[in-house]
C-alpha cells in the first residue's frame, strides 16, 4: 500500500476538534482533519417563518454548507449557494436526521450553518463531524452522535480519509460515509468513480471502523468544553 503522504490504508489524517468556538451560537464546534477545517454553528430551536414552513408535528432541521470564497484549492469561489453546496446541505441534513429527536419542537426550526476557511478534500464529512458536536453542545436531544469520513480507492486499493492529492490521482474513487455511532447505521453514502462491489463492502467496513475513532475525538471535544479544571 502506497499513499503519497505515507499513511497506512486505515490511517486518518490528524484531527483536532473543539466545542463552543462561536459564542453567539447556541452550539458550535470546529473540526480539523488534515488541512480541511470546518466550523459549525447551531441556532435554535427557534421560531420558523414564514409560517407555512412550520410542521405542527415536529421540528424542522435546516442545514447550510458554505465554503468561504478563499477556501478552495483553485480560483476564488463565488459567494452564495451553488448546485454543489445545495446538494451537500441536503445530504448533510439527511445524515444527521436519524440521530436527532425533533418531536419536542413542533413549529420550530433548528438551523445549522457550516463554513470552511480552508479545505483539502473530505469537507462534507468534516462538516458533519463538526455539526454533530455542535448539536450536542446546543443541548439538542440526540440518540447518538454522527461521525463521517470518506473512504475510497488510492492506487487501486481501499483506503480511508483521502486527501486532495490522493483524490486527484487517476482512478481515485471517493465514497463519503456517515455512521450513527451507537447503532452503527449508515446515514450518508455517496460515491463517484469506478469500483467493484466487493471493494465498496470493504470500504464501508473500513469507514465504520474509522468513524469509531472519530467518535472518540468528538466525545473528548465535548468533555473538554465542560472540564472545569
Amino acid at each position: 500500500m502506497n499513499r503519497p503522504d505515507g499513511r497506512r490504508f486505515d490511517e486518518l489524517r490528524d484531527i483536532e476538534a473543539k466545542a463552543g468556538i462561536i459564542k453567539r451560537a447556541d452550539g458550535s464546534a470546529s473540526f480539523k482533519i488534515g488541512d480541511t477545517i470546518a466550523y459549525a454553528a447551531v441556532y435554535g430551536p427557534r421560531n420558523l417563518y414564514p409560517k407555512f414552513l412550520q410542521n405542527p408535528e415536529k421540528g424542522v432541521l435546516r442545514c447550510s454548507y458554505n465554503m468561504m470564497p478563499f477556501s478552495g484549492s483553485g480560483e476564488r469561489i463565488r459567494p452564495g449557494s451553488s448546485r454543489r453546496s445545495k446538494e451537500i446541505s441536503l445530504v448533510t441534513q439527511k445524515a444527521l436526521l436519524p440521530a436527532i429527536n425533533l418531536n419536542e419542537f413542533p413549529n420550530s426550526v433548528i438551523d445549522i450553518f457550516i463554513e470552511f476557511p480552508q479545505t483539502d478534500a473530505g469537507s462534507r464529512c468534516a462538516g458533519i463531524c463538526a455539526v454533530s458536536i455542535a448539536l450536542a453542545e446546543a443541548g439538542i436531544p440526540m440518540k447518538e452522535l454522527v461521525a463521517a469520513v470518506a473512504v475510497g480507492l488510492v492506487n487501486g486499493e481501499v483506503a480511508v480519509d483521502l486527501s486532495k492529492e490522493e483524490e486527484d490521482l487517476g482512478g481515485a474513487v471517493d465514497i463519503p460515509i456517515a455512521v450513527t455511532t451507537r447503532s452503527g447505521k449508515i446515514s450518508l453514502l455517496q460515491m463517484d468513480g469506478m469500483i467493484k462491489a466487493e471493494d465498496i463492502k470493504k470500504g464501508v467496513a473500513l469507514g465504520k471502523k474509522a468513524c469509531q475513532k472519530i467518535f472518540e475525538i468528538q466525545k473528548k471535544a465535548l468533555k473538554e468544553k465542560y472540564n472545569t479544571q
Binding site: 459564542k23 454553528a41 458554505n66 470564497p69 478563499f70 484549492s73 476564488r76 480552508q118 483539502d120
Partner: protein
C-alpha cells in the same frame, strides 16, 4: 424596556464606564493571527473581544480596465455569515455587508497603499486581481474595526502564487510579496446620546445614534470616511470623532 435600557447605557457612558467595565474610548482585547487558511494566498484572523473575523485574499489573472491598461486591481467582498449572528441570513449580500465591503475597499484603495502598477503582468492584456473576502465567524459588535484590521493583515500575509506566464499554480506560493507603501486602518467612532464610543458590543450597537468610520494612514492622513446611523452630526461632533479615531488607529497598529 428598550428606552429604559438606552437610558441606563447613556447614564453609564456619562460616567465613562460601560457594562463590561471598559472606558468609552477603549477597545476590547485584540489578537491578530496570520496565515490561518492555506487555501488563500494571504489570510488573517482578528479577534476583538469575542468578535471574530477572518479575511482571505485570492489572486486571479484578469484583463485590465481599458482606461488603466497598466494596472491591476483589488476587489473587496464581505459575507456576514449566518454562522456568526442569529440575525444574519443566507442569500444575496445584505446592504450591511455591501456597506462594510465598500468602506473597507475605499480605505485600502484611496490610501494608495498599493501601487496597482505592481499588479500588471502585461500591459493592456494581463493583470493580477486581488480578491479580498471578509467572512464573519462571531459577531459580538464592531465588525468595521475587526474587518479593517483583518484585511490589512491578510494583505501583509499575502504571497503571490507561482505563475509561469500562462497559468497560476495555486499549490505553490512564490517568494513575491505584495508591496505596501502605506498601512491604512480604520476605527469607527459611534455616538450614543452625547457621548463618543468605540468598539461597541451588540448590546450597545442597538442604541447607536450615528457613527463615523475614518480610515487613516500611519502619519494620520485621512483616506476615507463614512458616516452612518440615523442621526445627523454637528461639525464639532465630526472634529471630535475624527480626532478620536486617528488616535485609536495609531494604537491599533501595534497589533500588526
Amino acid at each position: 424596556m428598550y428606552n429604559n435600557l438606552k437610558l441606563h447605557i447613556i447614564n453609564c457612558l456619562n460616567e465613562n464606564i460601560r457594562f463590561d467595565g471598559r472606558k468609552n474610548d477603549e477597545h476590547r482585547k485584540i489578537t491578530v493571527e496570520y496565515g490561518i487558511s492555506k487555501s488563500a494566498e494571504g489570510s488573517a484572523r482578528v479577534k476583538i473581544g469575542n468578535t471574530e473575523v477572518i479575511v482571505g485574499v485570492k489572486t486571479e489573472i484578469g484583463t485590465p480596465y481599458p482606461d488603466k491598461p497598466g494596472e491591476g486591481t483589488i476587489m473587496v467582498g464581505a459575507e456576514l455569515t449566518p454562522l456568526s449572528n442569529p440575525d444574519f441570513e443566507n442569500g444575496p449580500p445584505s446592504i450591511q455587508a455591501i456597506e462594510l465591503a465598500r468602506v473597507i475597499d475605499r480605505g485600502l484603495r484611496e490610501s494608495e497603499a498599493m501601487d496597482f502598477k505592481q499588479l500588471c503582468i502585461k500591459e493592456g492584456e494581463k493583470v493580477w486581481l486581488l480578491l479580498i473576502d471578509i467572512c464573519t465567524v462571531n459577531d459580538e459588535g464592531n465588525l468595521f474595526d475587526a474587518s479593517s484590521l483583518a484585511a490589512l493583515a491578510a494583505l501583509k500575509d499575502m504571497h503571490f502564487p507561482a505563475f509561469d506566464g500562462e497559468k497560476i499554480d495555486y499549490k505553490k506560493k512564490s517568494e513575491k510579496k505584495l508591496e505596501l507603501k502605506e498601512e491604512p486602518l480604520s476605527v469607527t467612532v459611534y455616538k450614543i446620546g452625547e457621548k463618543y464610543v468605540i468598539d461597541p458590543t451588540n448590546e450597545e450597537e442597538v442604541f447607536v445614534d450615528s457613527r463615523l468610520t475614518v480610515a487613516a494612514t500611519s502619519d494620520g492622513t485621512i483616506c476615507a470616511l463614512q458616516k452612518g446611523g440615523d442621526s445627523a452630526l454637528t461639525e464639532e461632533d465630526i472634529d471630535a470623532m475624527i480626532d478620536l479615531s486617528i488616535k485609536k488607529t495609531q494604537e491599533l497598529r501595534k497589533h500588526l
